[in-house]
């Protein structure tokens, strides 16, 4: 399907289309968030939906993130499939109780009685000089919490299929849109389709080293892989797409073949999801590893405002290339 010529959509348009198709199909799909109705959302993710589906189903809310998540949660328990928007991922910090203590746990606490088909959408990532409170990648906080699913697409095609799956999933899912990918264009089928949650995609095959990256980093990893290929280093680039549940099987299978791995994420390296993935790789492919699993992430500081500092802060294609090279350069012990 991806090879056929066709209509191109941007990442954010693919998001909107997924929401629109589900809303058209199912009256229980409803949306709420700040500025998403009349204005279509600050990223225009919800553009046109209020016009099409009315003010009852696409609601402009007060600036009240706790109540926004609660609005979705209560409605979800009552049989709706709400989509609620938290404008920037950083703002999840003001609503975290409703996300991690309520939405994630209500089913378990009720002994299974509640079903929570809630989708929380948000914009993550740096690169817009938006400084420390509008640029974070906080997926590690969410992935640590049983009960949630976390999705972070790297391209328009996956965005549409993953967002559709989030809406139809009967669990609370968090859909992170990377702000720097909003305008990325690619062919996207017009019909509805569902990309399964929890399935990684081998986005570039290769036999020398496995590179795991998501969100904007997938694209940087692909570019780095092209550079490295010119030197004869073939990266297998894996986009997990869903971070929780995490498809470790695909990653381990690859590493057992390539014997080397680099995990790349935009989040702060310390305590980021890369640690979990690297640990699971060495647990499951210990005897196959020719080098320690490497991790690339942001250094240990808040996101700086200055574009120069920010450029140094975010893992770049160059740093991915370097990291892969240094992993490849490690001599085999006694080999």
């Amino acid at each position: 399907m991806t090879d056929s010529p066709g209509r191109k959509l941007s990442y954010v348009q693919a998001f909107t289309e997924a929401v629109r198709l589900e809303m058209a199909d199912d009256p229980t799909v409803i949306c709420a968030g700040e500025d998403i109705g009349f204005f279509g959302g600050v990223f225009q993710s919800y553009a046109g939906l209020q016009t099409e589906f009315g003010v009852d189903r696409v609601v402009d809310t007060p600036i009240s993130e706790q109540a926004i998540v609660g609005l979705g949660l209560g409605a979800a328990v009552n049989g709706m499939r709400p989509i609620v928007d938290i404008m920037f991922m950083d703002f999840m910090a003001v609503a975290l109780d409703q996300i991690i203590n309520q939405a994630a746990k209500i089913k378990y606490m009720f002994g299974g009685a509640a079903t929570v088909p809630l989708t929380i959408t948000t914009g993550g990532g740096a690169g817009m000089s938006a400084a420390a409170q509008h640029s974070q990648s906080l997926e590690a906080l969410l992935c640590h919490i049983p009960g949630l699913k976390v999705v972070y697409p790297s391209n328009p095609l996956d965005m549409k299929g993953l967002m559709a799956s989030c809406i139809r999933d009967d669990n609370p899912t968090v859909m992170v849109k990377h702000k720097r990918l909003l305008g990325m264009k690619a062919e996207v089928p017009e019909e509805r389709y569902y990309t399964p949650l929890g399935e990684a995609r081998v986005i570039r095959p290769g036999n020398d080293v496995t590179v795991v990256a998501w969100g904007k980093m997938t694209n940087d990893a692909l570019a780095a892989a092209d550079t490295l290929a010119r030197d004869g280093i073939e990266c297998e680039v894996i986009d997990p797409r869903t971070l929780q549940p995490f498809d470790i099987g695909t990653v381990v299978e690859s590493v057992r073949r390539t014997n080397r791995a680099v995990v790349v994420h935009e989040a702060v390296r310390f305590g980021g999801l890369g640690g979990e993935i690297a640990s699971q790789i060495q647990e499951n492919a210990f005897d196959y590893l020719d080098a320690p699993v490497a991790r690339l992430g942001a250094p240990f500081s808040p996101v700086p405002f200055s574009p120069d500092l920010e450029a140094a802060y975010i893992p770049s294609q160059e740093r991915i290339v370097e990291e892969v090279r240094s992993v490849m350069a490690r001599p085999l012990l006694g080999g």
Binding site: T61, A67, K107, M109, A113
Partner: protein, 331 residues
């Protein structure tokens, strides 16, 4: 309002059920037969009973940490309640939730909650769904005076008003949050002063008078059902026991006189005098009600005690809903 006899007897019956459930739970806790925290609502029965009597079966409530009474009043059953408190697999939450998360969605009880104020936005969300479905259902979050100082309450109250949702906010003002009196934590005496800030009507009611609660709730529920938006009821009440557990007198943070003063106004006994005095019922009937429910409680305790504890294969179930995957193929 002149309540008809049936309603009076129902209100009384519900209060007795709550009182007996709480007394039994308290006794079990003292005997170290209940794990975890236990927040009893003895003294506050009129609020749960009076409010829930105005609700239909498909109306909904959301509760807080002090939630047993709300569930009983909304139609919760003793057996699965007691079993839940004892962490048995026959409990409402299969023993996974306990007192602080007790719930029964089938009777419209959206759960107790361990986080102060957190049930309020959930109730508002339930109201959003209800308003879209247009069946006239009403949502009622119960919360304490102390909870009105937390952000979630504020956001949810404003949200309900902004979206004109069918919600009746019920504050049980028992003058304390845990071990700290209201006047240390807010500069107002009446929670109802907050209603105007959301653009909703607010009313103070004597929370020890079940009829007064019933009347105020009727009006607020009607208003919400009509689509005229939310309102706030502040019920002035008191918990006779400690923040958790039973001990009532001899506590450092409140005087015995204060407790005794409120106990004189026991919502059940004063109401019994009233309905007997008015000829709505007899002392004999009242005794029967107590005895009948005492037997029910004994049955529930027995049931719970003989119920199995959850087995460890239950540990990882109920974390996620396993959805049937959608049929369409991914490109």
């Amino acid at each position: 309002m002149e309540l008809n006899t049936d309603t009076q007897l129902d209100l009384h019956h519900t209060m007795v059920r709550i009182r007996l459930f709480e007394e039994a739970a308290g006794q079990l806790a003292e005997a170290a037969k209940l794990p975890g925290f236990l927040h009893l609502c003895v003294g506050q029965e009129a609020v749960a009973a009076g409010v829930c009597a105005t609700l239909n079966d498909d109306d909904q409530i959301a509760s807080n940490h002090r939630g047993h009474g709300h569930l009983v009043a909304k139609g919760g059953q003793f057996r699965p309640m007691m079993a839940e408190l004892m962490a048995k697999s026959t409990g409402y939450c299969k023993g996974k939730g306990g007192s602080m998360h007790i719930s029964d969605l089938s009777v419209g009880m959206l759960g107790a909650n361990g986080i102060v104020g957190a049930g309020v936005p959930i109730a508002v969300g339930a109201a959003w769904a209800n308003s879209l479905r247009g069946r006239g259902q009403v949502s009622v979050p119960f919360f304490g005076d102390g909870s009105t100082n937390i952000g979630a309450f504020h956001e949810a109250a404003n949200m309900a008003a902004a979206l004109k949702l069918p919600v009746v906010f019920v504050c049980e003002n028992n003058e304390y949050g845990e071990f700290t009196p209201r006047d240390k934590t807010m500069a107002i005496a009446d929670i109802v002063d907050r209603a105007a800030g959301y653009g909703m009507p607010g009313v103070i009611v004597d929370g020890m008078d079940v009829v007064a609660v019933y009347e105020a709730a009727s009006e607020a529920v009607d208003r919400a059902r009509r689509g005229d938006g939310p309102s706030l009821i502040e019920a002035k009440t008191f918990r006779f026991y400690n923040h958790h557990g039973i001990q009532n007198l001899g506590l450092r943070y409140r005087t015995d006189e204060e407790v005794e003063h409120w106990k004189q106004r026991d919502p059940i006994f004063t109401f019994e005098d009233q309905i007997v005095g008015a000829g709505s019922t007899t002392r004999e009937h009242i005794t029967e009600v107590w005895n009948h429910e005492r037997a029910n409680i004994a049955d529930a305790v027995e049931f719970a005690e003989h119920s199995p504890t959850p087995t460890t294969d239950q540990l990882l179930t109920d974390v996620y809903t396993i959805s049937s995957q959608t049929a369409e193929v991914s490109p």
